[in-house]
């Protein structure tokens, strides 16, 4: 490590290495920053692929009785879109941010297990490649259709050999198994790093909230992704070895799969949104010029969300026919989770209250996130009521609800994170105007698509239908929803253009362009391979504040 890092510094910007050597450096790297960047680039590539799949669906649904794609292709598109966006966009993005930032924020030189880190990334990458190899190999000898078409939660018995001949479902299950192993590896690494690698003085009570929230995320991944791995193993036993776990004709239970999938599936939402909260908790204080309001409450609320999120899964199954006792339990737990989440929203508002707010691009995304996540949470509470859910489950209302969480909540804060840390990662400032253009395009597109998508859901439009009859009152809504995706797509293009342009032409950022307070801003931009020449020592939650204001340091008040 150390010799490599010295060579890297010495040659940066002076002599250019041959391309093969650079590639070799990246492929064999165990540096948490490079792995973080690779996670993020990998995720952005898949974001484009998953986005194209969404656009194909929206073109198909724009008019009634449309024939843009066949029903079979439509089934593949929604399966691949969901699987891609969750496992190969959202998860790698979250892991990429955590990988890059957590060690620097806690004053460490790398993750606890750098080689495990590289292994985990390549497992995730292999999973993504496997999933998309299905377009080539999924037909098998049966001519049974290429890509997986069983939906992203792949309910039994649709996944059995009888109903899914060919190999497409095998590609799906293997891809998730492999990437799941990668996720668990990264989670183990994150938790260990945060517990064992903090710099002197960085007690748990002084850790940046981003690190705290990723710690909770790591614990959730360990406890939630493992059941998915177990369920995939069972599915493979059924498909390859003729087992009967989910084979109803031999006494097996299809509902078991639902439970096993959602035991993973619901905590997964929090796996994704908790790191997004972490980004908001870093960006909002810096751009409000105030320390975070209610730090201990924030940590407590996060841990509470982590615990409660593991007891809400069957709210995805109200229509399956559980006992009324079980229904009541899951209604209560699901509604209970709104309490700590609401506490967080008030904490962020409390941070902004009376602050001197700077509306730079990261802050714009965070403010939009606050409102959008609130609405997403409110429709969540609506759907948590079992009778309401009986009426609207598997309709476009549910689709609108969880896209509000994932796009309006998670993706918006991830964009904030991109703009906030871009100067640190590349050493260059992004283009502010292009960033604002991205924000407004994406904001308009998001609201056009997902606000209006609630309406056809209430009017009875079920999810996963490839087309519909005219005259049901769904047409205008579907046109507007599809138009919204166009805005979002253009927004993403502007975003990509901004990243590329700023990487080459952006103004030099310096170490601390935001006058921020956490340790990543003490080191150079981009940070050297070893992060810190001397390991820092901290005395408060805002070590840089202490350094800049020795007359009024934070540790006097904490």
């Amino acid at each position: 490590m150390s010799t490599g890092s010295i060579a890297w510094d010495a040659t940066a910007g002076t002599t250019r290495k041959p391309l093969v050597e650079t590639l070799h450096d990246w492929v064999t790297t165990v540096d948490h920053k490079r792995l973080g960047i690779m996670y993020v680039l990998f995720a952005l590539l898949f974001l484009v692929i998953g986005g194209v799949e969404a656009i194909i669906m929206r073109i198909q649904l724009m008019r009634p009785l449309n024939n843009f794609v066949s029903p079979e292709v439509f089934n593949r598109m929604f399966t691949m879109h969901g699987t891609t966006m969750i496992f190969f966009v959202a998860m790698p993005l979250v892991f990429g941010f955590a990988n890059y930032l957590v060690p620097i924020m806690i004053g460490a030189r790398d993750m606890a297990f750098p080689r495990l880190n590289a292994f985990s990334f390549w497992m995730t990458a292999l999973g993504g490649l496997l999933l998309y190899s299905s377009f080539i190999g999924g037909d098998g000898l049966y001519g049974a259709g290429n890509a997986p078409d069983v939906g992203w939660f792949a309910y039994a018995p649709l996944t059995s050999q009888t109903f899914s001949p060919g190999h497409s479902t095998d590609f799906w299950t293997l891809a998730l198994l492999v990437s799941g192993v990668g996720s668990i590896g990264t989670a183990i690494n994150l938790v260990t790093t945060i517990l064992c690698m903090r710099c002197p003085g960085m007690t748990l009570g002084r850790m940046p909230l981003f690190a705290w929230l990723n710690f909770v995320m790591g614990g959730l991944v360990i406890l939630a992704v493992s059941p998915l791995t177990a369920a995939q193993l069972m599915l493979m036993v059924d498909r390859y070895m003729g087992g009967h776990f989910f084979d109803t004709q031999a006494g097996g239970s299809a509902v078991m799969w639902m439970h096993f999938f959602w035991v993973f599936g619901h905590p997964e939402v929090y796996v994704l949104v908790i790191p997004a909260f972490g980004i908001a908790s870093e960006v909002i204080p810096v751009f409000s010029r105030k320390a975070i309001f209610g730090y201990p409450v924030m940590v407590g609320a996060t841990v509470a969300i982590g615990f409660i999120s593991m007891s809400v899964w069957a709210h995805h199954m109200f229509t399956v026919g559980m006992t009324s006792g079980a229904n009541t339990f899951f209604v209560m737990t699901t509604m209970a989770i709104a309490v700590p989440t609401g506490i967080k929203i008030f904490n962020w508002l409390g941070t902004m209250w009376g602050g001197k707010i700077h509306f730079r691009v990261p802050m714009m995304f965070c403010v939009a996130f606050l409102f959008q996540f609130l609405i997403a949470g409110l429709t969540g509470v609506m759907l948590a009521a079992a009778p309401f859910d009986w009426q609207l489950t598997a309709s476009y209302f549910v689709i609108a609800h969880f896209h509000y969480v994932i796009v309006g909540g998670i993706l918006f804060t991830l964009f904030a994170g991109f703009y906030y840390w871009f100067p640190k990662v590349t050493g260059r400032m992004y283009h502010e105007r292009l960033g604002q253009l991205h924000f407004w395009l994406f904001f308009i597109g998001f609201h056009l698509t997902f606000d209006l998508m609630h309406v056809p859901g209430i009017l009875g439009m079920p999810r996963r239908i490839y087309t519909y009859e005219p005259g049901r009152g769904w047409e205008i809504w579907n046109v507007l929803v599809s138009v919204g995706t166009l805005f979002q797509a253009v927004g993403i293009l502007v975003f990509a253009a901004n990243l590329i342009w700023s990487y080459f032409r952006g103004a030099v950022a310096g170490n601390d362009p935001w006058d921020a307070w956490t340790l990543e801003w003490t080191t150079s931009s981009p940070p050297p391979a070893y992060n810190f020449a001397t390991i820092p020592e901290v005395h408060s939650r805002r070590p840089l504040w202490d350094l800049k204001h020795p007359e009024d340091p934070d540790w006097k008040y904490e």
Binding site: T192, I222, L223, S226, P227, A230, G243, G251, T522, P550
Partner: protein, 198 residues
């Protein structure tokens, strides 16, 4: 970053953090426990739901001897690590080897049981729900024993070559944590398969 200019309160306690290896291993064990939980739940849920024979009570008998082997290997590995911490590498090698032998005996026991079930009783993973859940759960455990044995055996080889020294005690303690976990899970699997499930 220079903190020399700061007149912050000096830390009263020396800065100590938990061992990376142990925390990492505990995390891995937590993940493995979650996997085992799902398989155990499936086993418990499917008890008595097989539509055809053979049923567990007709073909299973508790492997008491091999269970004793596996559980006592937890004790031997504990002593092995203690000896290494004390710098007694010869005693370590002996107790470690004993652990490997006990683990291998257990695995042999599983192999014998499976051979009996497959060839004498005609129970395979395809036969019925009992076969599916039994081979999956016991097989998942046997897989973990195998993985542990590979680790233990490689240490045994290093120790035979005289390469294991006192300073490796901490790492071997981490490995022994994994082995304790494999043994502890067997207690659950044994209870579920041979006591509740029969």
């Amino acid at each position: 970053m220079s903190t020399a200019s700061l007149t912050a309160p000096a830390p009263t306690l020396p800065w100590r953090l938990p061992s990376k290896g142990q925390v990492g291993m505990y995390c891995l064990i937590a993940a493995e426990l979650a996997i085992f939980t799902i398989f155990v739940v499936a086993y418990l849920f499917y008890i008595g739901k097989s539509l055809s024979g053979p049923q567990p009570r007709n073909v299973l008998s508790p492997p008491i001897f091999f269970t004793i082997c596996l559980l006592s290997s937890s004790i031997t590995i504990h002593f092995a690590v203690k000896f290494l911490q004390a710098g007694k590498t010869r005693s370590f090698a002996l107790w470690w080897l004993l652990t490997v032998v006990l683990g291998a005996l257990f695995l042999g026991g599983t192999a014998r049981e499976w051979h009996h079930l497959i060839y004498d009783e005609g129970l395979t993973i395809q036969t019925n729900l009992f076969g599916t859940t039994y081979y999956s759960l016991v097989g998942l455990h046997a897989f973990h024993v195998t993985a542990g044995l590979l680790g233990l055996s490689s240490v045994a080889i290093f120790s035979a070559l005289g390469l294991v020294r006192q300073e490796h005690a901490e790492r071997l303690e981490v490995l022994s944590l994994y082995w304790h976990f494999v043994d502890a899970v067997w207690v659950v699997v044994f209870t579920v398969v041979y006591i509740i499930g029969r």
